[in-house]
């Protein structure tokens, strides 16, 4: 009997579930019973963090700083002065790019003073006409990737201009053009460091884990405390969010470089720097490029959230549009965000993939023909803008900047579409909604809340033990223990309930859709493009239509989460199924299996590790979205994180709540990843 149990994992699971159910039945739900709920020993932790940060930012190491405006010396804390100078440097770069596009005085102020600028009317950067910027982007597209890219980039920018979103789009673009390269650079450097030193890699790993899963709302207040409010704060929050995948992929790429390549480099007499620059990074290019792609997507995905702490541009316009329930306008803004993401992504990929022509012997004119073209576009654009200033005497010079919200608008069309959907689907959906809440959601939620803490620990740690042994069990237990010792265990259970439901639905949809699309290379490609688009499309937008249809209920939250969390499930399914070697297909066909047999007994098992990672990402996406779903109205951790924005000790509560959410994700990550790695090893798939 014991022998059998040791060998058969499913029997172990069965036993575990029996124990779990027994514990749920037997442990009484009484106050003070430690098997039911642990005491909140960590309740003071947020206060402690808050007090330490306050001390650091307000009382530690005061220095005298002269304030010329009020002509007094002021005592200012050193740390804040340092973080504020970093902030000022970042802000300067953002403003510089922004004023090249749109004009302004801040760059000149940086070198002179506000007094100077106020006294001298002419001291202002004029800003480029939109025709010049659009032409420039098209030429850049042509230079990097030929006529198709030129058309795509050019038309995207024309769209942005014609729809009257030029100004906010350029504000967003200038912010992304600084945040993304900084994230890429930091990610690259940390990745290289992690590659060179095992210790650094070990330290980085948990930090990256937490940074990736922590909901962005949780670190908004800490960022504001350290870096104040404005575009630079938005940039910092964006960098925190966007850097981890870059670090990960850089390390992964460098690790995969075959030793032969490194040795060949060494033998040719490379210094360390040359080896890295000329040999390792080019060889690892494929993974590093995926990292760059991820950074750009993440940066654009953060645009709306960054606007909560002062980033100018499309994000804040979107929030205002949503507050007035103008879904059509919000959709237009959302499309602009996606277009910027796609243009930047395609341009950066084309740039990185552009082959270097070592042997060309070109004249000055040949080498600089694109710069010369741009010069031409510049002159023509400026001339047009100048003529325009006579043509459009009163009001706006459409050849310089098409003013905000004065372009064409398709708002009525979208609004009509939304209304149409509402009229057609509301009543059937309403019936479904009632059934779903009463029969499914409410009982599941109740069941989650009725779990004694001891039973939850047994189930989670037991699963981890069966999958990965004692080490996994202890890690998972550690994560859960942290949450159980805060005062928010019940809230965490509600988060877990929403997440589980969302992952089940999103995983099912994603795997089915992914499987269907993976059958053909065209549909696979289309699906992957859709995934990119949906990932950058601001998730705030569909909160409103969903709420219109399903009310302020858990169903709405769930649907919003599912829409977003399906993306990774579908993506990894396609990637997994496509990575099954063709030789296996052939071998299978030759052994005479039919298509369905091949799928069930070869493709599916072979892509299980990928699917597991896809589900893992689904969990991460679902957790991130559960917090945004709190804007609809939940009573989970997300709601408290939103609340911490106004809390006196928000730095502490926000961070600890963020850790709670992250630890739920990490506990699941631990189990799924261990399992995926075992499967990989068993199937002989390399990492």
């Amino acid at each position: 009997m014991m022998e059998l149990l040791r060998e058969r994992k499913y029997l172990q699971f069965l036993l575990l579930i029996v124990i779990f159910i027994l514990m749920c039945k037997l442990i009484p739900a009484t106050e003070g019973n430690w098997l039911w709920r642990l005491p909140s020993l960590l309740a003071q932790f947020p206060t402690f963090i808050y007090e330490s940060v306050t001390f650091l930012m307000e009382d530690w190491w005061l220095i005298d700083v002269y304030d010329p405006d009020i002509n007094e010396y002021e005592q200012k804390p050193l740390v804040r002065e340092i973080t504020r100078s970093i902030a000022a440097a970042v802000l300067f770069m953002i403003e510089l790019v922004r004023e090249i596009m749109l004009g302004g005085v801040k760059t000149i102020v940086a070198f002179t003073s506000w007094d100077y600028v106020s006294d001298n009317e002419w001291a202002e950067l004029p800003g480029l006409p939109w025709t010049v910027v659009t032409g420039g982007v098209a030429i850049l597209g042509y230079h990097l990737g030929g006529i198709k890219l030129a058309l795509f980039a050019g038309l995207s920018f024309v769209y942005i201009a014609v729809f009257g979103q030029w100004e906010p789009s350029m504000q967003t673009l200038s912010f992304v053009l600084i945040a993304a390269p900084m994230a890429i650079l930091i990610g690259l450097l940390l990745g290289i460091w992690g590659y060179k030193s095992k210790t650094v890699a070990n330290i980085l790993d948990p930090i990256l884990n937490v940074a990736q899963i922590m909901p962005h709302f949780a670190y908004l207040i800490p960022v504001v405390v350290f870096f104040s409010i404005g575009d630079h704060a938005g940039a910092v929050a964006t960098i925190i969010y966007a850097t981890p995948p870059m670090v990960r992929l850089t390390m992964l790429g460098l690790k995969k470089v075959p030793p032969e390549v490194t040795e060949a480099g060494r033998m040719s007499g490379c210094t360390d720097w040359q080896l890295m620059r000329r040999v390792l990074i080019p060889t690892a290019r494929r993974d590093i490029l995926i990292g760059v792609n991820q950074v750009i997507m993440q940066c654009l995905a953060m645009v709306v959230i960054a606007s909560l702490i002062g980033a100018k541009g499309l994000g804040s316009n979107l929030l205002i549009a949503l507050n007035g329930l103008r879904i059509g306008l919000a959709l237009e803004i959302g499309v602009c965000i996606v277009l910027i993401a796609l243009v930047l992504d395609k341009l950066s990929l084309a740039w990185a993939n552009k082959p270097t022509d070592y042997f060309a012997d070109q004249s000055f004119k040949q080498r600089h023909k694109h710069s010369l073209w741009f010069l031409g576009v510049f002159v023509v654009g400026v001339l047009l803008a100048w003529i325009g200033s006579f043509q459009f005497k009163e009001g706006f010079n459409y050849l310089n900047v098409i003013p905000h919200n004065k372009g064409i608008t398709t708002e009525p069309f979208w609004q009509w579409g939304v209304d149409k959907i509402w009229d057609t689907f509301f009543y059937p959906l309403n019936e479904f909604n009632k059934w779903f809440i009463v029969e499914v959601l409410a009982p599941v939620k109740k069941a989650y809340l009725a779990m004694p803490v001891a039973a939850t620990f047994t189930l989670a740690m037991g699963t981890a033990f069966i999958v990965g042994g004692i080490r996994s069990a202890l890690i998972v237990g550690g994560y859960l223990l942290f949450i159980a010792l805060t005062e928010w265990w019940d809230r965490a259970l509600i988060t877990a309930y929403l997440m589980t439901m969302a992952v089940l639905i999103a995983g099912a949809i994603g795997i089915v859709v992914g499987t269907l699309c993976a059958q053909h290379s065209t549909t696979s490609r289309m699906l992957l493009t859709w995934c990119d688009t949906l990932q950058t499309f601001p998730s705030f937008i569909y909160l409103i239509p969903v709420m219109m249809l399903f009310g302020v209920t858990d169903t709405s939250v769930l649907i919003a989460v599912v829409v977003y969390a399906t993306i990774p499930a579908a993506r990894y399914t396609v990637v997994g199924l496509n990575s099954v070697p063709a030789s296996l297909h052939d071998a299978a066909t030759m052994s005479g299996v039919n298509r369905i047999q091949r799928f069930l007994s070869i493709e599916l098992p072979m892509s299980f590790p990928h699917l597991a990672l896809g589900i893992n990402q689904t969990v991460v996406f679902a957790l991130a979205m559960v917090v945004i779903g709190a804007l609809i109205g939940t009573d989970d951790l997300g709601q408290l994180i939103l609340g911490s924005l106004s809390d006196r000790e928000g730095v502490g509560t926000g961070l600890i709540l963020g850790f709670c959410v992250a630890f739920i994700g990490l506990a699941i990550d631990q189990i799924l990843r261990t399992w995926a790695n075992q499967r990989k090893a068993a199937l002989g798939i390399p990492d």
Partner: protein, 318 residues
Amino acid sequence: MKVQTARAVRTLVAAGCVSLLSVAGVARAADSKQPIVIPTHNWSSQVVMAYVIGGMFESMGNNVEYVSADSQAVYESIRTGDVTISHEVWQSTFGKSFLTAMEKGGVIDAGTHTATTLEEMGVPNWVIEQDLCPGLPNWEALKDCHENFTTPDSDGKGRWLEGPQSWHGDLMPVRLEALGLADKWTVKFAGSADALWTELAAAKKEGRGTIVFNWTPNFTDADGFTFIEFPEYTDGCRVEDGGDGSCGSPKGWLKKAANEKFPKTHPAAYAAFEALDFTTEQIGQMAALVDTDKMDHKDAAAKWLADNEDVWAPWTKQ
């Protein structure tokens, strides 16, 4: 030795000149050219008012900068001086954040608008017109009409859609309990203001009764909204003040907040900001320009400034 004395004297003279100059500077009390940072949040009247106040400061020769910020998180930024003012501090929604920041130091109270605010549970007018709850706006009517206000998740009870729990904690659940309505009504906390407006729109389409938390002045005033009349608020009627909580909300103040250095760096602008005082109608006008006339926020502010120069010009001449 001699050389050194001469240098010392020269330094002294120079220092004297500098201090004289700076004393003159203080005496002249001109506003600094550093920009005044005005926050914009996500509702129209606030954004238009930000541009109106900015335009007023600019007419006085000041530089102005706008920064989009979360309406709760902004008080921490005013405290540290990263944002200069906030011109719409609502008593019950932002009062807590504002007072907290004041208590920590760095934020000053720059006066109160004439406009009073009311933040209370209420119904859109069509709920009354369709007679979904006969007897409203008197609260006693709620005793027997909850069936028209149920939702799938409300367990057969009528639903009150309250703002996020961080706005007023358990105020509404306690009130339901105290008024003896708890067996017929339940409170659901919305996650954001957007959720409240969506509920209004959705309930109207469905023709279902809805009771939501709302405030005035607000853009919903235009479509007609009636606040429920609860037993009048008296000092000490709330639970935290020792009462049983069976009372409605008080008329609230609408304050202005500023960073404590603002009066010193921009004395003239601060004087104008202190004098600035909007009425409910004026705030309604600003919101309507955007919400009803669909104007751009900046254009709306420009139009309001042009139409109402007699209102704001005196404030700048303090």
